[in-house]
Amino acid sequence: MIVQLNNLSVSYGEILALDDISLEISGNSVGLLGPNGAGKTTLIRTLLGFLKPDSGSSAVLGMDVIIRQMEIRQMVGYMPEGECYVPGMTAVRYVAYAGQLCGMPYRDAMQRAHEVLQYVGMDEERYRMVETYSAGMKQRIKLAQALVHDPELLFLDEPTSGMDPAGRQDMLDLILDISTAKDIKTIVSSHLLPDIEYACQDVIVLDRGRLLIQGNIEELKDSSHSLFELKVKGDLELFTSRLDNMKIEWRIGNNNILKVSLPENIKPKFFFQIAREDDIQIRHLVATQNTLEDVFAQAVGDSDL
């Protein structure tokens, strides 16, 4: 188990950022998903010991966060959100410095900095001052400084933020490689569903400081409900009210396409029954698969109710 939370609550003054969260994380690559302000960064910072919880306890790699903070930091890497560098250093120097701060001897730290920068895709640019880099390069350097001491667990906070599509794909590939081929466990915080779906096996969905769902992404997508896409002509409100009466979950997607989640005991011909009764035409009906977006929307939607 890499992370364990027991009734953890964290607040900033009167604002409750994490609300009585209990969970266990044991996957190799876990995505922390949620809209802005959901509590993702707060959770990571609490696990690093930056924030003191109001109540509850947490453990990382089996060690209590409050009691064994230094040991945890020795074994984890953290790639923060936003800019984070020491001005006046070249990239290689900065990454080596990060290694030295973890206790690596200078020579080893420098050699390791070269290796890690090469791995994250920084070639000759590594000899430039960090403050001169583009946003994408700074993201790579942040990843390199988090990796330099060979952590067991890596916290990545919005790792693709500010990157162009090609750079974003590179970063996601790196994260995937780190968690699969390099055997380093990753916890990736993002509000971008495709990023989490691509780079993670498990997901934790947070919203307004509360835990909404947690589990394996494939299992969550393959739920007991069947998902259908519908396009109707006629009184849409009436149609959806009939769905509500039957307590069937639905939402409207792009181009006014209805996404309806049918329980197993209801067959698709039900759509035609209510359409006929209300004089509504069904112009489009196709069985589809749950995406992470559906899972997320469903979870956030449920929490709003």
Binding site: K52, R73, P80, G82, C84, G88, M89, G103, E115, H149
Partner: protein, 279 residues
């Protein structure tokens, strides 16, 4: 020929113990500051030259007698040397110390530091040692060298026997000057994300407090107003340490300096704790 894999590999060696982790911060801080040639030339150069001038004076006084205004190399000689260095200490703080914490805060580097196995003490000590090393380089180091030079040259005289305590005064006064000044610039550096504001505030305190002190004393005729001046307090404690006459109480100055040290330390520590607040 086998191709060397430069990709990611696991690191199997042992980490160094935590004890001197702060020294890594100090070394890197010094490296960044001392890489600036103008800093070396104009900030560290002149006090080094001044040291050689004083060294030559000691030589001249001992070898050629009373060539200079100084009758003898005594406690006043060393006190005047330190008083002259004060200006350069201020310059070191302005150009070398104002960005020590401010730049880290501006670039969110504190998150990087504290995600590593470092305590706030390590960070603070590392930064404090950075500025202290530079300041002691122009106070304690030349002070001791001049003392040793005089002791060696004035062989057969009574300097060592009678004025051995000067070595203690040199060490103590070096610390009296550098510790509060170093903590003051660190405190100011931690208040703002802009190192220029820290530098300006520092200059304002160094120049403003003597002006305010003198003005208050002259207008309202309040003798105690002299203690408002930063330099007056250092001067008073310095004269006491070098056993020189002083026409006002040095104890108040000592209390003010100690209070300043405590206040600055608490301020810096509190500001570093401030990274807990997520934007």
């Amino acid at each position: 020929m086998p191709i060397h894999d430069q990709s990611y590999k696991h690191w199997e060696k042992k980490f160094k113990p935590h004890t001197f982790r702060w020294w890594v911060i100090t070394k890197e801080g010094l490296r960044i500051i001392l890489r600036r040639k103008l800093f070396l030339l104009f900030i560290l150069g002149p006090p080094a030259i001044l040291m050689f001038v004083y060294g030559a004076m000691i030589y001249g006084i001992n070898i050629y007698g009373k060539l200079f205004d100084f009758d003898i190399v005594n406690s006043n000689f060393f006190f005047v040397f330190f008083t002259n260095q004060n200006f350069f200490i201020s310059l070191i703080c302005v150009f070398g110390g104002s960005g020590l914490i401010a730049d880290d805060m501006k670039n969110n580097a504190l998150q990087m530091y504290f995600s590593k196995p470092l305590t706030r003490w390590d960070y603070l000590l590392g930064k404090f040692a950075t500025i202290m090393v530079m300041m002691l380089f122009i106070t304690l180091v030349p002070g001791i060298l001049l003392f040793v030079e005089n002791a060696l040259i004035s062989e057969g005289s009574t300097f060592i026997k009678e004025q051995y305590w000067l070595l203690g005064s040199i060490i103590l006064y070096s610390l009296v000057i550098t510790v509060p000044t170093g903590l003051l610039i660190l405190a100011l550096s931690s208040i703002s994300k802009n190192s220029r504001y820290a530098a300006i505030s520092f200059i304002a305190i160094l120049i403003g407090t003597p002006i305010f002190s003198e003005t208050t004393r002259n207008i309202f005729d309040i003798g105690a107003a002299r203690y408002i001046s930063y330099w007056t307090n250092l001067f008073a404690v310095g004269r006491k340490l070098f056993r020189l006459s002083l026409n006002y109480q040095w104890e108040w100055s000592a209390i003010i300096i100690i209070s300043l040290v405590i206040f600055c330390f608490c301020l810096v520590y509190r500001r570093i704790n401030g990274i807990d607040i997520v934007k």
